[in-house]
């Protein structure tokens, strides 16, 4: 499968996943936020799907940056700029035909771009906790299943955390006991990508 075909299938899988789990994300964001994360991610997914063919037809770096722009201009809220920064950064660093090391470097930069943009660090009950875990699993050479598990565990790990960033931070202790909605949307995306990667490495 060509690179762009794989990107296309990843885009479809992530978008499908965010759309299918919108209600779940809404429920989480209702508990410690304002309830819009589900519709925000669904809107972002639909916007990318609407331009999927054009995006996939472009060279990988541009395709990834296009995805970033589309997400920034469609999701809104805190999640938009953060997911946008991730793909914009990834698109700027990966080469045309990246090998695992190229992806490794690209993902590392993308995760730190998110951290920088959101001025957050791991352990603050945000999507960053999942992105950091997934990236580190990838950089340690784990396979798709291993990376997916790391992401899922990271999402679970946000439940006991005290939120220090984002809307949930306003609740202090009351944020404890709930999974962070952005952490789940990130873990869902990682899982979707891993499955596509697994089917056609």
């Amino acid at each position: 499968m060509t690179g762009t075909e794989q990107v296309g299938r990843a885009v479809d899988a992530v978008a499908r996943c965010w759309i299918d789990h919108a209600d779940e994300l809404t429920k989480l964001d209702s508990a410690i936020g304002d309830g819009d994360h589900g519709t925000n991610m669904k809107r972002g997914a639909e916007a990318v799907l609407a331009e999927r063919d054009a995006i996939v037809a472009r060279p990988l770096p541009s395709a990834l940056q296009d995805i970033g722009h589309v997400l920034v201009e469609s999701i809104g809220g805190a999640a938009g700029p953060l997911y946008g920064s991730f793909f914009l950064s990834l698109g700027r660093t990966v080469s045309l035909h990246p090998n695992r090391d190229d992806w490794n470097m690209g993902l590392r930069d993308a995760v730190s771009a998110v951290a920088r943009r959101g001025n957050a660090s791991p352990g603050e009950k945000t999507m960053l906790d999942v992105l950091v875990s997934a990236e580190s699993a990838f950089s340690h050479g784990l396979d798709a299943a291993g990376i997916e598990a790391a992401a899922s565990e990271a999402a679970e790990s946000t439940i006991p955390m005290l939120a220090r960033r984002g809307r949930a931070a306003f609740l202090s202790e009351r944020s404890i006991g709930h999974m962070d909605p952005g952490a789940l949307s990130s873990a869902l995306a990682v899982a979707a990508i891993c499955r596509v990667w697994e089917d056609a490495p």
Binding site: S30, I32, G33, D34, G35, D36, I75, R117, R165, S172
Partner: protein, 328 residues
């Protein structure tokens, strides 16, 4: 929760279209409704731009016009607008004296407005509005941007019309934010279009104390008590944050969160004026009504701004916007 709506996803856009239809002399909708701008800009004036998620009406688009905002960027319900919207608004209303972005202290608002500011090829400064009174353990935390945003927009709006430059406006804005404190109480949370039922379930004798304007959990659950007791707690929390208000000249602004009848807001206003006067404060300016909301939330907020001569004069200046109008 029953609503006047067609397709759920179109609720905010159709509301905005109706708003623009209702105020043709005041505002114009930007291209595919990405922002709302005042009909006539003022040459040489610093452009004031704000915005945020929809669901807080009349904030912010209702404050576009003479003496207040030049443009407002409405996002989806409770979702900050995108950088592209802010950039488009800047392009439409900046007249060479730069833009001052008035941004409520939420991650989404700050992230999106920051990306717009970074991409802008014009002078841009930002005032972050965090007027929430911090309650109990969160003393060191972030202050949410609440009803005090209206006070900041009014004072900056008048000052911009009087010709203050970008730097002076930003400094004045930061001073107003520093001297403005708001605390809100919710009797029942809102039911956003995308959530089946209320965001937060409150029992018949429960309220949320220290709330925001997104239907989210407040600082703490509390029990419903007579209005006087609630107001005394709210005023005590304000004073614990600001320090004594004895001898201070203040603006008292009691704001409805969307579904509270005016009779109850007036009642809360009277009690708040009594409690603040008892604490030695002199109420010299007053505002009561439903201005900075959270969809159909039943609740209200108390905002106190410690005024100085400049702020009072700016507050008194004429304003002609859909939601706030006096002196012209």
């Amino acid at each position: 929760m029953k609503k006047f709506v067609n397709r759920i996803d179109d609720a905010a856009a159709e509301g905005l279209a109706g708003f623009a239809a209702a105020y043709p002399d005041h505002v114009v909708l930007g291209e595919n409704a990405r922002f709302v701008r005042r009909r006539h800009t003022v040459p040489g004036k610093v452009a004031l731009i704000s915005g945020g998620g929809s669901g807080h009406e009349p904030l912010h688009a209702g404050f576009v016009g003479t003496g207040m905002l030049d443009a407002a960027c409405p996002g989806h319900i409770f979702t900050s607008p995108t950088p592209g919207q802010v950039e488009a608004a800047m392009g439409a209303v900046e007249v060479g004296a730069g833009c001052l972005l008035i941004v409520k202290n939420y991650a989404g608002d700050r992230l999106n407005f920051a990306m717009a500011a970074e991409a802008a090829d014009r002078a841009v400064q930002t005032v972050v509005v965090g007027d929430e009174v911090l309650v109990g353990s969160s003393a060191d935390g972030e202050r949410r941007g609440l009803a005090g945003t209206l006070v900041v927009e009014k004072i900056l709006g008048a000052s911009a019309e009087r010709g203050l430059d970008l730097k002076m406006l930003r400094e004045l804005g930061e001073r107003v934010v520093e001297r403005t404190r708001t605390i809100g109480v919710t009797l029942s949370s809102c039911s956003p279009h995308f959530v089946r039922g209320p965001t937060v379930e409150l029992g018949p004798e429960e309220i949320e104390f220290g709330v925001g304007i997104h239907g989210e959990l407040g600082r703490r659950r509390a029990s419903l008590r007579p209005a006087r007791a609630l107001v005394d707690d709210m005023v005590a929390a304000i004073i614990a944050d600001t320090g004594s208000l004895a001898g201070e000249e203040i603006l008292l602004f009691v704001n409805g969160l969307g579904a509270t009848p005016l009779m109850e807001l007036h009642l809360m206003f009277g009690l708040a004026e009594e409690a603040l006067s008892a604490a030695g404060a002199r109420i010299v300016r007053r505002l009561v009504g439903t201005y900075v909301t959270s969809l159909d939330t039943a609740g209200c907020s108390l905002t106190v701004t410690r005024l100085d001569a400049e702020m009072t004069a700016a507050w008194d200046e004429p304003v002609d916007t859909p939601a706030l109008r006096w002196g012209c």
